[in-house]
Amino acid sequence: MTGMLELKSIDAGYGSFQALFDVSLDVRAGEAVGVIGPNGAGKTTLMRVISGLIRPIRGTIAMEGTDVVATPPHRIVSLGIAHVPENRRLFPRLTVADNLKMGAYMPGARAHYAERLEFVFELFPRLKERLQQMAGTMSGGEQQMCAIGRALMSNPKLLLLDEPSAGLAPVVVQQVFELVKRIRASGLTVLIVEQNVQQVLRVVDRAYLLEAGSIRAAGSAAELAASDTIKQAYLGV
C-alpha cells in the first residue's frame, strides 16, 4: 500500500492561538484511519488544515505527492479530498438536490454529475425521496446523509469526516457508523475524527490519539482499544 495523504510536522492555529503542534500522520490508499481525542484537542483544526480552510504555520501536507499547502483552497477538492465539516454545514435554505449539486461544482465533477447522483442514491436511498426538501428541515441523521452525499458528489479518493456522530440520537449514531462501513466497502479511503471512541475503533483500521494538539499514541484499532490509557480515559472501563 502506498501513502495517499501525508502530513509532516504540522503546526497550525488561529491568530496567536496554536491548536496543533508538530502533528505527523499518514493515510494509505484503501485504509480507514481514525483520529480520536477529547473536545478541544485540535481534531477539527486538523481536518481544516488538510482541506485548506486554514493554512498551517509550518509543516507539509502531500496528497498523492501533490503539495496541498501550495494548492489554493478551492482546488484542493480537485486533488480528491472531500471534507464533511463538523456540524454538517449544509446550505439550509437550498433543497437537497441543490446541496448535492454544489458538491459536484468543480468542472471535473460536473461531467459525471448524473453518475455520481446515482451512486449517492444507491448509498442513501432516503435522499432520493427528499430531493426537493429544504436541507435545513430534515432530521439530523438525514442531514448527515446529505452532507456525506454532497462530499461524495465530487468523486473523491479521500473522505474526511469530522465528528459525523455529533448531535445525533444513539440509534442514528449506529446508522451513521454503518454508513461509514458501506462507504469504505465502495473503495474510498476515509479519515474520520471522532469523540465517540468506542464506535469509531470498530470501523477503522488504524487510529491516532490527539491530545492538546499533539499525537500521543498511534496504532491499529485493536491495539488502541486494548491500551490501558485509552481504556481508562475514553472507553470508561
Partner: protein
C-alpha cells in the same frame, strides 16, 4: 359586465395597469441591488448611477453612432455588466472585510465620481434617443408602447436571472454562498469568482434597466436621483437581499405612485409612497417578508 365597468372607473383601471407596468421596471432595478446585497453583503449606493451611465451609452450609440436600438441595447448591457465587475474588483474587493460603513462611503464616493464624470464628459443638457413609440389605445385607455415594451423586457430579464440562479452550477453557488461563505472552498468554489460574476449580473441588470428607462425619460447626469432612492426603499421594504420581497414591494410602490398620481399630481404619488415606507418601517422594520427567527 357593463355595470362592473361602470363602478370600476376606466381611469382607475388605466392607473392600476400603468402601475403594474411601472412595477416591472422597478422590480428589475430592485433585483439587481438585492442580488448584490444578498450575495456579497454590500450595498451599491451608486447603483442608479450605473443606470445613468448605461442611458448615456444608449444615447451615444443611437444618436451619435446611429446604431439601431436593438443593436445598441446588448452592447450597453455588456458595458454596464463590465462596469459592475470593475466596480467590484476595484472598490468592493479591497473593502470586503472592512466595516460596512466604509463600504457605504466608498460606493457613495463612486456615486459622486460618476455624476461628476457625466457632468464633465456629457454636459448637463437633457438628452434623449429621439425615438417616439406610439400609444396603444384599448377602448378608452391609452398605454404607451415604451411602457409595455419595458415591462415585457424587465419581466424577461428577471425570468432569465431566475433560470440562471436555479438551473446552473454557478447560479446555485451564488445562492449557496450567502448561506455559508466559509465552506465554499470545500465545494471547489472560488468565492472571488462568484462575487465577480454576481457583480457582472447586477451590472447587466442595471444596463437592461438603462435601455428601458431611456425610452421613457431624458438622460442627464443626475437622472439617477429620480429612481435611485425609490429602488433602495423598495429593497428595504421587501427586506434587503430578499428577492421575492423586493419583487412584491416594487409593485406595491408602483401602485401607490400610479394611483396617487391619478387622484392628485404625480409628485404626490411619490410623497404617498415615501410616507407609506416610513409607516411600514415602524410596523415591519425587517421588511414585508421578514423571516421570524
Amino acid at each position: 359586465m357593463q355595470s362592473f365597468l361602470n363602478i370600476f372607473d376606466i381611469y382607475l383601471l388605466e392607473a392600476v395597469i400603468n402601475g403594474i407596468l411601472l412595477g416591472g421596471v422597478l422590480a428589475l432595478l430592485a433585483l439587481g441591488l438585492n442580488l448584490i446585497f444578498g450575495v456579497i453583503d454590500v450595498t451599491w449606493i451608486c447603483y442608479a448611477e450605473l443606470v445613468m451611465i448605461g442611458m448615456y451609452g444608449m444615447y451615444y450609440l443611437v444618436q451619435v453612432f446611429h446604431l439601431p436600438y436593438w443593436a445598441a441595447a446588448p452592447l450597453v448591457i455588456l458595458l454596464v455588466a463590465l462596469l459592475g465587475a470593475a466596480l467590484h474588483f476595484l472598490v468592493i474587493a479591497p473593502l470586503l472585510t472592512a466595516p460596512p460603513i466604509n463600504q457605504l462611503l466608498a460606493t457613495g464616493g463612486v456615486l459622486f465620481i460618476l455624476q461628476s464624470f457625466a457632468t464633465v464628459a456629457f454636459g448637463i443638457d437633457f438628452r434623449n434617443l429621439g425615438i417616439r413609440l406610439p400609444v396603444l389605445a384599448l377602448g378608452e385607455m391609452n398605454f404607451s408602447y415604451a411602457r409595455l415594451l419595458s415591462f415585457g423586457a424587465a419581466l424577461a430579464g428577471m425570468i432569465g436571472v431566475y433560470l440562471f440562479l436555479t438551473r446552473t452550477f454557478t447560479g446555485t453557488a451564488i445562492r449557496a454562498i450567502a448561506q455559508d461563505r466559509q465552506i465554499m472552498p470545500l465545494m471547489g468554489v472560488d468565492p472571488k469568482r462568484i462575487y465577480l460574476v454576481t457583480s457582472a449580473i447586477g451590472g447587466g441588470l442595471a444596463g437592461l434597466a438603462a435601455c428601458l428607462l431611456v425610452l421613457q425619460y431624458d438622460v442627464h447626469p443626475f437622472v439617477g436621483l429620480s429612481f435611485g432612492p425609490i429602488t433602495f426603499l423598495i429593497c428595504v421594504l421587501g427586506g434587503l437581499g430578499n428577492f421575492i420581497g423586493g419583487f412584491i414591494a416594487a409593485f406595491v410602490f408602483a401602485e401607490i405612485i400610479s394611483l396617487g398620481g391619478l387622484f392628485s399630481d404625480l409628485e404626490w404619488g411619490y410623497v404617498l409612497a415615501f410616507a407609506f415606507f416610513i409607516v411600514m418601517m415602524f410596523i415591519r422594520p425587517a421588511g414585508l417578508l421578514s423571516r421570524r427567527s
